[in-house]
């Protein structure tokens, strides 16, 4: 079942002197429970495409339909609400809230969505266990390693059961061991929770694990390869 449909997507940045066509006519579909990597050289448009998919940026033209909802037709406030309910984000720099513990960081989105305390606690426990951090629930980000912080970020992204997760270079700041461990967790969650994961990455380790690899160059899709794993 299609989760995301991208139709002839364009994003042009108009700076004072130069016009940059960051995304140039991209058309793609993503199915439920996909584990896809968007790869390409720096400046190929990976992050821009991810931002457009996440509703953080607006396309110049084209459409992004998520469960048949056209993102460009949503009002800003509705878009924020839509993002909160349907999209999970994992950032390169983890971006946890430093004053909150691991548990509170995971609970945060559920709390914004007004989940009951009991449901929040159950889901947080389940996710921290899944990412192997149930013993660090009361630790603040500053007391955790980069790998552990990124695992909390993954748990946070999954907390409110979004339709898909967008991960922008999630392993870029991690050492090999931490990166492998994180990928193991994401693969497991992808299978167990049937959650769609879309990465933008340079990391070969991510590419190897991905079941679909989309290559961008100059804002265009130059290859879209699906592998059986």
């Amino acid at each position: 079942m299609k989760v995301i449909e991208i139709k002839d997507l364009h994003k042009i940045y108009n700076s004072t002197e130069v016009k940059v066509h960051a995304v140039n006519g991209v058309t793609l579909d993503f199915q439920e429970a996909e584990f896809a990597a968007i790869v390409g050289p720096s400046g190929s448009g990976k992050t821009t495409l991810l931002n457009l998919l996440g509703g953080l940026d607006l396309p110049t033209s084209g459409q992004i339909l998520i469960d048949s909802v056209d993102l460009s037709k949503l009002k800003p406030s509705a878009l924020i609400d839509f993002r909160m309910k349907n999209i999970g984000f994992v950032f390169q720099s983890y971006n946890l809230i430093p004053v909150l513990t691991a548990k509170e960081n995971v609970e945060f989105i559920m709390s914004l969505q007004k989940w009951t305390k009991q449901n929040r606690n159950e889901r947080t426990y389940e996710l921290l266990k899944a990412v192997g951090l149930s013993d660090r629930e009361n630790s603040r980000p500053a007391k955790m390693s980069g790998g552990q912080q990124q695992r909390v970020a993954v748990a946070r992204a999954l907390a409110s059961r979004p339709k898909f997760i967008l991960a922008d270079e999630p392993t870029a700041n991690l050492d090999t061991k931490s990166a492998e461990s994180l990928l193991d967790i994401m693969v497991k969650l992808n299978r167990e929770e049937e959650m769609t994961f879309i990465f933008s990455t340079h990391d070969v380790r991510v590419m190897k694990r991905a079941r679909r690899v989309i290559t961008l160059e100059d804002g265009k899709v130059v290859s879209d390869e699906t592998r059986e794993k």
Partner: protein
């Protein structure tokens, strides 16, 4: 959750937050305490004016104040008393005879206003009897065949009734008061000397002591040398009802000390029967009727009512008799406002600055919050709550410190003896007992919270203008 995050964010940079809180605390304390000190000074002055000098309302013959002719009496005193007694809010009424005259001793004389009073009634209505300087006699309590007079310290000094004498007792007193022996040794050369005025004494010890010693011990030296012989007399001269010169010797019953030099210098009190006899005024005649009210706040309304009923007389309340004091009393609200504006402006600038820095430092985090679905309203509320927490913590700490210091100094007082000469010359006490009403604290609390909210608007709007995509990329 938003509230919890906002509270935790306040303590994210402890040093900075504590600095702002400390600044707010000091600012609020400085403002509230200064206000309490000014307030106490004004209230003490009003209290003295009403309770020692004027009472609430006075009724005179319409010509009395302009000419002070002994003939300008209240024509129908019983009617005036009856009007007062039938007016709600009036608790006591008394009558006075007032003549202008000269007080003299063997060496000096001074112009005075001699007020004949109903001693028992006035003791109930005024607090002047409580201002008796210990050791100078009593408030008309001594049994004597002589005429008696109750005079102010300033007049007593002016007439050389109070002098300064350095006795062995003065030296002992200084020793007990902890004056250093080096200073006492210098002052011992003054033993046995008499000084007829304050100025002469000052001149004498200034020759002996260093300026710093003078500044530190002058009040103790004056107190040690202060001398008064109980039962001293003075001569009062004035015109009688037939405009003939009259007068008599009066034994000083006691000497009072207030914070108003002018009042002490001019006003002296004698029993009304004695003055009536000397002036030849008929029984039941008075120059002034004075009323006391149950509450100072009803002064204006009761004055209006009395004035409507006593159209043939001049009816004045204390605010009209001393318009400068009334103006200061009315002005107190504006002084409050000026202080509040200063306090709150400092608070607002501190908070705006801190919150702008906080927003700048947390750009990436705010971007992330927007990305994951925290809407603008919640971000605005979060920043606003942080500002409010900062202002509330600082504001409450400032008010708690103020409350404690005001409670302590309200009992012990603040001694500004160094400035007493100047302050008492205009009727203000040099010993302040800071006080502030609960309403001021409540208003200040509300204003601090409002300032916190208003100060948060600019930083919060800055946060809302962030573009999540750019904010997340911020290093």
């Amino acid at each position: 959750m938003i509230t919890a995050i906002a509270w935790k964010n306040v303590w994210r940079n402890k040093t900075r937050s504590l600095t702002v809180i400390a600044a707010v605390t000091v600012g609020v304390f400085a403002g509230v305490f200064s206000m309490a000190a000014i307030n106490s000074s004004i209230l003490q002055r009003i209290d003295a004016a009403v309770n020692e000098e004027l009472s609430h309302i006075q009724v005179n013959n319409k010509d009395f104040r302009s000419s002070a002719d002994i003939q300008n009496i209240i024509n129908d005193y019983p009617e005036v008393v009856s009007v007062f007694e039938s007016t709600p809010g009036v608790t006591d009424v008394t009558g006075r005879l007032i003549v202008r005259g000269i007080a003299s001793t063997a060496t000096k004389s001074a112009g005075v206003e001699i007020t004949g009073i109903d001693v028992e009634k006035e003791k109930k209505m005024f607090t002047i009897s409580e201002k008796l300087i210990p050791g100078t006699g009593s408030y008309f309590e001594a049994e004597t065949k002589f005429n008696t007079v109750f005079i102010g310290e300033k007049l007593a000094k002016e007439l050389n009734i109070i002098r300064y004498i350095f006795t062995p007792g003065s030296i002992d007193f200084l020793r007990e008061e902890g004056v250093p022996s080096t200073v006492i040794e210098k002052l011992e050369t003054l033993q046995g000397e008499r000084f007829t005025s304050d100025k002469k004494l000052v001149k004498a010890y200034e020759k002996l002591l260093a300026p710093s010693e003078v500044e530190k011990y002058q009040w103790k030296i004056k107190e040690a040398a202060w001398s008064y012989r109980e039962g001293s007399k003075l001569i009062l001269s004035f015109l009688d009802i037939n405009n003939n010169q009259t007068g008599a010797a009066f034994r000083i019953s006691g000497i009072f000390r207030t914070n108003n030099d002018m009042f002490e210098e001019i006003c002296l009190f004698v029993p009304i029967e004695e003055l009536r006899q000397l002036t030849g005024m008929k029984e039941g005649t008075y120059h002034r009727a004075i009323a006391r009210l149950e509450d100072n706040d009803i002064t204006n309304s009761v004055t209006r009512e009395i004035r409507q009923k006593l159209t043939d007389y001049e009816v004045l309340n204390w605010k009209e008799i001393q318009p400068d004091l009334a103006m200061i009393s009315d002005f107190i609200g504006q002084i409050y406002a000026v202080f509040m504006v200063i306090i709150l402006a400092a608070l607002a600038f501190g908070i705006v600055n801190t919150m702008l820095m906080a927003v700048l430092e947390r750009t990436r985090e705010l971007g992330m919050l927007m990305a994951v679905g925290m809407n603008r309203r919640k971000i605005f509320i979060m920043i606003m709550l942080e500002s409010i927490f900062l202002s509330i913590v600082g504001g409450f700490a400032g008010m708690a410190v103020s409350e404690i210091v005001i409670a302590i100094t309200g009992k012990t007082g603040i001694n500004l003896m160094k400035y007493s000469e100047g302050m008492e010359a205009i009727g203000y006490s040099a010993h302040l007992f800071p006080t502030i009403d609960a309403q001021f604290f409540i208003t200040t609390t509300i204003l601090i919270v409002l300032t916190g909210i208003i100060s948060s608007i600019y930083p919060a709007r800055k946060a809302l203008k962030l573009n999540p995509v750019e904010a997340i990329r911020t290093e």
